[in-house]
């Protein structure tokens, strides 16, 4: 069906390149045995994802994606891997049992199901309904601090609890 499209535009080429890279990196996260390499793949994946957000005109969220995921969360992952020294003796060779097979089979089943039921009916949709500046900081800030102010406050509480919890877990003796 994709092949059935008459022409291919530069925009489509950009998207396909980004999407292909992201997909490859996603596979890399799962397939590579060394956790450090998995992590590096994930970094690239998140970084590319940020650019895909940009192609969706969601500038603020793209930048947040780089800052939060690529910048903060992935650094945390790498720190933990370093601290646990997982790259050396802690590389677990995957056992050859039924689980990976079943997992991959179920994964494929999931993919097939959702693709057939959700994606196929949406093939034709190309019309963009959102305003041009729907992802600008002004628009997001306005919505976040009016309609979503309570969830926002609750989220701040959650982060606070997260801080306390991680300190509690990290300390040897309280």
């Amino acid at each position: 069906m994709i092949a059935a499209l008459p022409t291919i535009t530069p925009n489509q080429i950009t998207f396909l390149a980004l999407a292909g890279l992201a997909a490859m990196m996603a596979v890399g996260v799962v397939a590579l045995n060394n956790p450090v390499r998995s992590a590096m793949c994930l970094v690239v994946n998140f970084f590319v994802l940020a650019f895909i957000y940009f192609t969706l005109n969601a500038q603020l969220l793209g930048i947040t994606q780089i800052l939060v995921y690529t910048g903060a969360i992935m650094v945390l992952f790498l720190f933990v891997i370093m601290l646990l020294n997982l790259s050396g003796k802690q590389i677990f060779p995957e056992k050859l049992d039924a689980k990976p097979v079943i997992g991959i089979a179920v994964g494929l089943g999931l993919f097939g199901l959702i693709a057939s039921q959700v994606l196929l009916p949406m093939q034709k949709i190309t019309k963009i309904n959102a305003e041009y500046a729907y992802g600008s900081p002004q628009a997001i800030g306005k919505t976040l601090f009016t309609n979503y102010v309570w969830p926002f406050e609750v989220t701040s509480m959650l982060l606070l609890v997260g801080i306390v919890g991680s300190i509690l877990l990290a300390k040897r003796k309280i």
Partner: protein, 739 residues
């Protein structure tokens, strides 16, 4: 000023005094020493005294009103206000409440003055006045409140203050136990009071349709005692009797009637001003006030009234008999209080409610006098309370003995025929006369009121007799027995007064606040006193009672109240009784709402007066005969020589011990039974069984929990896929199958 303003001042001045004492008293006394005590003592007396003056003004205004307009209700704020019940914080100004206000604040301020002298050596000086002012505040709420719930607040509040003050010297275990006993026994009474209130509310609420009431203040007196509600009471005689009896149970607890009297003798562990104020003049009369307030309920229920009469008569007799076996001067007065309260209930049962209140008033005069006098004697005798160690004290304590003799004549009911009598004579006459004359309090045709009056007449003789015993043993005779205490007698005295001390929880032994070796730190040491320049008249109290002891007259702050009370005990009864003044003040025209006129005397009034005068004088003669010269051999320090009757009386005929054993041991056994059988074999079995069942069910399904996290993840994924697949299937079918 308006009555509505004055009455709140009367109520809140003691509260203000309480707050001042509570927040500043301790600091001031600690930092300023004797001067601080003088200041705080003045600040404790002033609010009560001002309240008394204001109370007099209100009463004077009230007396100018026509008899049927003598009440007003003042609401401060809406306290409990829900859909079907409204209880405002309101006070009622009427003759009954104002009478009690005058007694409370009047006697209260005298006793406060007395206490500034009595407690002068106390370290926790302001704590005492904190409690005392708080007590006055709660007592005022009790009598002034216009609904049963405010009465209940006051009821519990005075119970709390009583508890705090009985256990004032709390470091002595016996005092704490006495306080606990008072508190716990009173809870039984409160149980009755609350149930009675519930019945009244339920009765009114279930008949609300017939009433056409425009408000839902179900517990306010003006609603409970209004004509339509009385019709409801008349229509439900069973419930009315139940409510009346339950209210009386409350009165029994607070007013120390048999079988709940046991706490009052032990309450003597508190300081003597407390015994005078709370446990003689005011708090214990709350039951009589309640019966007066709710008198319509009792007028409607002859059965309940008969029970009130019977209980009162039995209590009067029982307590009077016990008083013969007591050697502790305060215990004698305590049992006398119980006995006199019995008289008040005879009056209330017989329908002469005003006579009950009259006796409350006169009793407040002479019993407060006697207690304060005994406090003065104890003060002078190095805090020894054993009458066997007194004798011939009139030589040393001239004012105290003169005033106490007046108190004794007043309680004995001495009179010069009917021309003039001491205070007790008139109230006792009124009670006995009404009880003899009326046939209202009867069950099944038996006129309980009449028999109660017969018992009461006998008790009048006994009262005169044991009070003479106390007076002669203390003030008369040639022996100065504290110089004659035989070696080892001290031990005997202990053995006597702690007659239940093998159980250790019944009696505050009478040397609870012996100043000698004060190990508890409630009093100043000699060095501290010297540092504070306390006058010489206090020094002797720090010596134990020995042969060289010289009693001294008490300071003016203590004897002035005695003199005032003595004057009231002489003239109070005569003034209030003349021209039915007191009766018509409380019950205009002497008419009761249901019963109409209550006869004051039977046809044989002359005989009654003769009998009663004979009882009073006979008791005094008997007392003189037995105790006038010296302590009888058979009542000396050696308990083995006492007669069996007197020994039994000394131990309350075993009643106290039996009750305490029953409740403590019985409670213990009940708790053990409940623990071993009900709890561990019944409830625990059910709980453990349910838990075990859940465990077994868990084990059944436990095999599914492999502990492999990835297995769980896989199952979750499978579930998700299955769910989406199912949804897809349903969607597919609802779209009409394959297209």
């Amino acid at each position: 000023m308006e009555v509505g303003t004055l009455i709140w001042l009367v109520l809140f001045l003691p509260v203000l005094g309480f707050l001042v004492q509570a927040f500043f008293g301790g600091r001031v006394v600690r930092s300023q020493g004797v001067a601080g005590k003088k200041l705080m003592g003045t600040l404790a007396v002033l609010p009560i005294a001002i309240s008394f003056v204001l109370g007099c003004i209100i009463t004077a205004q009230l007396a100018q009103q026509p008899a049927d307009a003598r009440f007003s209700i003042h609401t401060l704020f809406s306290w409990i206000d829900i859909l079907s019940l409204s209880i405002p914080f309101e006070v009622r100004v009427d003759p009954l409440s104002m009478t009690m206000v005058l007694i409370i604040t009047g006697i209260g301020s005298l006793i406060h003055v007395y206490a500034t002298g009595y407690m002068a050596e106390e370290k926790d000086y302001s704590r005492f006045f904190t409690y005392l002012n708080l007590f006055i505040a709660f007592m005022l709420i009790l009598v002034l409140g216009n609904n049963l719930l405010l009465l209940f607040i006051g009821w519990e509040g005075v119970g709390l203050c009583s508890y705090l003050l009985i256990g004032f010297w709390y470091k002595d275990l016996a005092n704490s136990r006495a306080a606990n006993k008072a508190f716990i026994v009173n809870r039984i009474g409160d149980w009755g009071l609350t149930l009675g209130m519930f019945i009244i509310v339920a009765l009114i609420a279930s008949n609300i349709g017939k009433l056409g009431l425009d408000n839902v203040r179900f517990l306010s007196y003006d609603v409970i005692l209004s004509a339509p509600v009385i019709e409801i009471f008349k229509a439900n005689p069973g419930w009315t009797t139940a409510a009346a009896l339950l209210l009386f149970v409350g009165a029994m607890g607070k007013s120390a009637q048999f079988p709940l009297y046991l706490w009052l003798p032990d309450a003597m562990a508190g300081p003597t001003p407390v015994s005078a104020l709370i446990h003689a003049a005011t708090m214990v009369t709350a039951g009589v006030v309640l019966l007066n307030r709710m008198n319509i309920l009792f007028q409607l229920s002859p059965v309940a009234s008969a029970v009130v009469c019977g209980v009162g008569a039995f209590t009067a007799l029982f307590a009077a008999l016990i008083a013969f076996g007591q050697t502790d001067i305060k215990k004698v007065l305590a049992y006398s209080t119980v006995s006199q309260l019995g008289f008040m209930f005879i009056a209330c049962g017989a329908g002469a409610y005003w006579a009950g209140m009259f006796h409350v008033t006169t009793h407040a005069f002479f019993k407060a006098l006697l207690f304060l006098g005994s406090g003065a004697v104890i003060h002078a005798m190095a805090h020894d309370q054993d009458m066997r160690n007194y004798g011939n004290l009139r030589k040393y304590l001239k004012i105290t003995s003169a005033t106490m003799i007046i108190g004794w004549l007043a309680i004995a009911g001495v009179s010069v025929w009917t021309f003039f009598g001491f205070a007790g004579f008139y109230s006792k006459e009124a009670i006995l006369g009404a009880a003899f004359a009326n046939e209202f309090a009867s069950i099944g045709g038996i006129n309980i009121g009449f028999y109660s009056a017969c018992v009461g007449m006998f008790v009048a003789l006994l009262t005169s007799f044991y009070m003479s015993r106390m007076t002669f043993m203390t003030f008369f005779g040639q022996e100065e027995r504290w110089r004659l205490i035989p070696a080892g007698a001290h031990h005997d005295a202990q053995g006597h007064d702690d007659h239940s001390h093998d159980h250790g929880h019944t009696h505050a032994h009478h040397e609870a606040h012996d100043h000698g070796p004060d190990t508890h730190g409630f009093f100043y040491t000699d060095e501290e006193l010297a540092a504070q320049h306390v006058g010489h008249d206090h020094d002797d109290h720090h010596h134990a009672l020995d042969a060289e002891h010289e009693p001294h007259e008490v300071p003016p702050s203590m004897w002035v109240p005695l003199v005032v009370l003595a004057a009231l005990s002489v003239a109070g009864g005569f003034l209030l009784y003349t021209n039915h003044m007191f009766e018509h003040w409380l019950y205009p025209g002497g008419q009761l709402a249901i019963l109409g006129e209550i006869k004051a005397y039977p046809e044989w009034k002359t005989l009654l007066v003769a009998l009663s005068t004979g009882a009073a004088l006979g008791g005094i003669v008997l007392g003189w005969f037995f105790y006038g010269k010296k302590l009888p051999e058979r009542e000396g320090w050696d308990l083995r020589r006492w007669s069996p009757f007197r020994r039994a009386a000394g131990q309350q005929f075993g009643y106290d011990k039996a009750m305490v054993d029953m409740s403590v041991e019985g409670g213990n056994q009940l708790a053990t039974f409940s623990w071993k059988f009900l709890d561990s074999k019944g409830i625990d079995a059910i709980v453990n069984g349910v838990a075990g069942l859940a465990g077994q069910i868990g084990k059944l399904f436990g095999w599914a929990q492999t502990g492999f996290v990835r297995g769980y993840a896989l199952l979750m994924l499978l579930g998700g896929v299955g769910l989406i697949g199912y949804l897809a299937l349903v969607l597919f079918q609802s779209n009409g199958g394959p297209k």
